[in-house]
């Protein structure tokens, strides 16, 4: 800092050349310091935005999914071979429904001499268990057997992902029309493109998508001519030599439209084969593969197949757990706060309780999980993985939060209220329960809801009391095995298939929606009822 202590020579004016220089420097330092602050806030906000954008970006693809849609006659020979019309037997006969759909696909796409591998490739387009809802619907109404019903079956996760733009980088190229064609679908076809430009466009796309950092991984082109799909093996000028993949087994007529789908990875390096892509594309042009809203995300329970997995059981599990947590933490928290704030004598025990509550609020949550595992499960013999134990552990975890919030709300009620009540003859208890507590209620409820929101997002302690178990059924009560949303998110995030990623992000959004709702309620409560004294 500048202080004019250098003697009489400097008296007279503070505004010397040096002082101005110093001032400039000081102002620069001031601006820098302010900038650091703005930068810090900027970084924090950018981090938040990056987090939300990345999760919403991931999740967006999970809110729709592709289904295979067929109008099929439900034939009794498939679904009820014994003709008993027994609902249980029909519901259990998943493979019958499965076979019906498989045969339909095989009729359409496989030659008569197709071997097991061809079949497996074709049937891999959808998941076996995806027909389960249809089997159940048919079992509920056995009279529909023999009539035409709509089959909507989830496509396999990898193909769904491919249609949404995942699995492999790609580019669609219009390559004009067929000028000439020769060969046969069995031994290979050679088609000639109508224009040289189109041939160059195709090879440019192939070069563009071929990765340069990996050896021997050229891009591949799938060619559609007319309604038939081919894989391009090589090209020479305008002549493309092709292998038949799917569609009508006839050579395209001269002038038939052509289209190329260039993929960065060959089928050895991706989870979806060339033929599966061709089949799906054909089904898509027939309108049999379409994109629908992914309602099963909310109506289904957990599954080992990402395309069938949903959050229903976890949402109910979370609600049951929260119920137990609320029943423990809210009344006990409020009563404890009332005692400490209004009744407790100033002595060592109270001081100890106070220090203890503040400390408890800062104990890592996983320690509460250890407590639950040791006391509730090992010592008291309660079952693992049930909402009752989860709720108790979370209740103890948020108890300090509720107590601290309730105490703050109680302190905010002015002492005049208490003295006025005592003055007209109320006892201490009456003044607290009839006057102070009702006035503090909005603040207490706000704190309680925020505590509940914290419990809803908590994961670690629940892992230790076995709530990671795979639960495929919606739990019936607090003593039924179940899982909760955050744990489900954790479990899905460890899934190996790529399709789990958008699924996990979607589950995160479900969780965030619940949290936002709870916080909104808390904010509204505070705005609506908060009083300033």
């Amino acid at each position: 800092m500048s202080s004019p202590t250098e003697g009489p020579a400097n008296t007279g004016s503070f505004v010397t050349e040096e002082a101005l220089q110093r001032l400039k420097k000081r102002h620069a330092a001031e601006a820098r310091f302010k900038l650091y602050g703005q930068l810090a806030i900027g970084i924090a906000i950018v981090a938040l935005v990056a987090l939300l954008v990345s999760i919403f970006g991931q999740a967006s693809s999970a809110f729709s999914r592709h289904v295979l849609s067929y109008d099929l006659n439900i034939e009794a020979s498939y679904v009820d071979p014994e003709g008993t019309r027994d609902p249980d037997a029909i519901a259990r006969n998943v493979s019958g429904f499965n076979l019906m759909l498989q045969d339909q696909l095989a009729d359409e796409f496989l030659a008569d001499d197709a071997d097991r591998n061809d079949q497996r490739e074709l049937y891999g387009v959808f998941t076996r268990l995806a027909v389960l809802p249809i089997a159940r619907a048919t079992a509920d109404a056995p009279e529909t057997i023999g009539s035409e019903q709509i089959f909507n079956v989830a496509l396999a996760d990898d193909i769904d992902l491919f249609l949404k733009g995942g699995v492999s980088a790609r580019k669609s190229v219009e390559i004009g029309t067929v000028a000439a064609g020769e060969g046969s679908t069995e031994d290979g076809v050679t088609l000639t493109l109508a224009s040289q430009d189109d041939a160059e466009k195709l090879s440019a796309a192939l070069t563009e998508l071929t990765r340069t950092d990996v050896d021997d991984a050229p891009a591949v082109a799938l060619i559609k001519a007319g309604n038939t799909w081919y894989r391009m093996e090589s090209s020479e000028g305008r002549n493309l030599s092709l292998t038949y993949l799917a569609g009508p087994r006839v050579l395209p007529a001269e002038g038939a439209e052509m289209e190329a789908l260039v993929l960065a990875q060959s089928q050895e390096n991706r989870t979806v084969t060339d033929r599966q892509i061709a089949w799906t594309k054909i089904l898509q042009t027939q309108g049999r593969v379409k994109s629908v809203l992914n309602t099963s995300l909310f109506t289904n329970s957990d599954s080992t197949y990402p395309e069938l997995a949903g959050t229903a059981a976890a949402i109910i599990g979370s609600l049951l757990t929260m119920l137990v947590t609320a029943l423990l933490a809210i009344p006990v928290g409020i009563f404890a706060a009332v005692y400490l704030e209004e009744f407790a004598p100033k002595n060592r025990l109270t001081a100890l309780i106070e220090v203890n509550i503040n400390n408890l609020a800062a104990v890592p949550s996983i320690v509460f999980g250890l407590l639950g595992a040791a006391v509730f499960i090992n010592f008291m013999g309660l079952p693992r993985s049930v909402p009752l134990v989860g709720g108790l552990v979370l209740g103890l975890l948020v108890l300090p939060t509720v107590i601290i919030a309730s105490r703050a709300a109680l302190t905010a009620v002015p002492p005049s209220i208490r003295t006025a009540a005592l003055g007209v003859g109320a006892s201490k208890t009456q003044s607290v329960f009839h006057h102070v507590l009702p006035l503090a209620a909005p603040g207490i409820m706000t704190g309680a809801i925020i505590g509940m929101a914290r419990a809803l997002g908590e994961t670690a302690p629940l892992l230790l009391i076995g709530m990671v178990a795979f639960v495929a059924e919606v739990p019936d009560g607090p003593m039924d095995e179940s899982t909760v949303l955050p744990v489900l998110i954790y479990k899905w995030s460890t899934g190996a298939e790529r399709a789990w990623e958008p699924q996990t992000a979607a589950a995160i959004i479900v969780l965030l929606v619940f949290l936002v709702l709870m916080n909104l309620i808390a904010i509204i409560l505070r705005r609506r009822f908060e009083r300033r004294w």
Binding site: M1, R26, F33, K34, Y36, G37, A40, I41, A44, A47, L48, L51, S54, I55, Q58, P331, V332, G333, F335, A336, V338, Y339, F343, L352, I353, N356, I357, N358, N359, A362, V363, P364, S365, I366, V367, F368, G369, L370, L371, A373, A374, V375, L396, S427, T429, A453, G457, E458, A460, L463, L464, G466, P486, I489, Y490, S493, E501, A505, L511, L515
Partner: protein
């Protein structure tokens, strides 16, 4: 009869019965008080309602105590009796296996749709177990009913014109409130006792010093329990997190409390608090999906630079750096809101004094406000470190499983919390060194965070008193 009781969900039933009894007792007590006063209720020491409350309290309190005791000890009593009735050859199995056998039986017996297994002994035992449970429940209920009746008559006998019913009822309420406050203490005792108990069992098998100072950790195979690599990983990740959170959190707090207009403050503060409201599992997913790949590709890029030796950075798909960075983001609002409080608590007169001397705002902050707020800021940072050490989900998802000591932040490291989760997830027997080691780790974690918290809370308290 015994069997039906063994299967019945009696808890709800009892709850309803107790509630009904309380209502009845209230009504009887109230009527009696009105009778005593012959209608002139102002003659009574307490209002008739309080007499009613008193009788209700006297009725249900003893019954509730008995039922509570039954909940705590009922099952172990049943098991002890059941074990003593088992054939000699099963009793000779030893405690652990005997316990598991009874577990199986009780699980089978409590299933309502249980069918005979075909094993004659097992079925008979299961039936007997159901009967014993039913018997114990009937006994508990009878005892509770007797106690309730006793309490009811005792309560009624106390009522009189000058009986201070209100004072008695309020004593009861106060006691209930005290019990609620004591649950917080009980929780702490429960934590310390369970951690200590299991940790001591662990240390009876593994030497304390080889646990605290050993450098090899292979708990999954049950071979080595040297926790130094875990401590190292924990502190390295917490350090990385603090490198992010401390400057950003502090500068945000300074800017918000000293520079920002009220409008900016009212927008930015909730946004920062939003960061605090996001569940940790979401941060974990973010770290795993987005930050870890970026860290990895940056590390690969650095490895590819001309003057860097090959394999200089480990560049693992999960890394300490990814976990640390995201954990830092998570802790920012924690540091900023605590420091904000502390900075706001510095009296305005100190700032005014500095401005009067011609200091700029930043000079005031650096040379007056921060030194005054320093203890509080340090406490805030300590609490943040304790939070970072105890954080679980981010490290479980993004830090890795390998116990190693390396200063390379792009390597995958493991932490105390990761190991606790890994050791206690899945099938757990409370009798292997592997499971018990999780409790020993938990104990260390608890003690370390407790020390940090105690120091921080004490400093904050002192600091508050100084300026109040």
């Amino acid at each position: 009869m015994l069997e039906t009781f063994g299967h019945l969900p009696v808890a709800w039933l009892l709850f309803a019965v107790l509630a009904a009894a309380a209502f009845m007792a209230f009504y009887v007590g109230r009527t009696q008080a009105v009778g005593i006063a012959r209608g002139y209720t102002s003659q009574l020491n307490s209002q008739p309602n309080y007499h009613g409350y008193f009788v209700a309290m006297a009725t249900i309190a003893p019954a509730a105590i008995i039922l509570f005791l039954y909940m705590l000890f009922g099952e172990s009593l049943v098991r002890a009796q059941f074990a003593s009735e088992l054939p000699e050859r099963i009793r000779a199995l030893g405690d652990l296996e005997l316990g598991q056998y009874i577990d199986r039986i009780s699980e089978h017996a409590t299933r309502r749709d249980a069918t005979a297994t075909g094993n004659a002994l097992f079925d008979a035992a299961s039936d007997r177990y159901t009967n014993l449970v039913g018997l114990s429940r009937i006994a508990a209920i009878l005892l509770a009913v007797l106690a309730a009746a006793g309490g009811f008559f005792f309560g009624r006998s106390r009522l009189s014109g000058d009986f201070r019913a209100r004072a008695r009822v309020e004593d009861g309420i106060k006691f209930l409130l005290f019990l609620c406050a004591a649950i917080a203490i009980l929780t702490t005792i429960g934590i310390v006792a369970s951690l200590l108990f299991e940790a001591l069992r662990f240390f009876s098998r593994v030497n304390v010093f080889s646990f605290l100072f050993g450098t090899e950790w292979n708990a999954q195979t049950g071979a080595d329990f040297g926790a130094i690599p875990l401590f190292f990983g924990t502190f390295l990740i917490a350090f990385l997190a603090m490198l992010v959170a401390a400057p950003i959190g502090l500068f945000s707090a300074i800017y918000l409390s000293e520079y920002a207009s009220p409008r900016v403050r009212s927008i930015v503060k909730p946004i920062l608090e939003l960061l605090a409201g996001i569940p940790t599992v979401v941060y974990g997913f973010f770290a795993l999906q987005f930050v870890a790949p970026i860290v990895r590709s940056s590390a690969t890029w650095i490895n590819g630079l001309p003057f860097i030796p090959d394999g200089f950075l480990a560049a693992q798909p999960t890394s300490a750096l990814a976990a640390g960075l995201v954990m830092g983001i998570m802790i920012i609002p924690f540091v900023s809101s605590l420091s904000d409080d502390v900075i706001n608590a510095v009296p305005q007169t100190l700032r005014d004094g500095a401005y009067a001397m011609g200091a700029t705002k930043s000079e005031t902050v650096k040379q007056v406000v921060m030194p005054a707020a320093l203890p509080g800021v340090i406490a805030a940072l300590l609490l943040a470190v304790s939070r970072a050490i105890g954080e679980t989900m981010i490290v479980v998802m993004a830090a890795g499983q390998r116990a190693q000591i390396t200063p390379d932040p792009t390597a995958d490291l493991t932490t105390i919390t990761v190991q606790i989760v890994a050791l206690l997830t899945g099938d757990t027997e409370f009798d292997s060194a592997k499971t018990l080691s999780a409790f020993a780790l938990g104990f260390v974690l608890f003690i370390v965070t407790l020390i940090f918290n105690l120091i921080a809370l004490r400093v904050v308290k002192k600091y508050r008193e100084k300026y109040e």
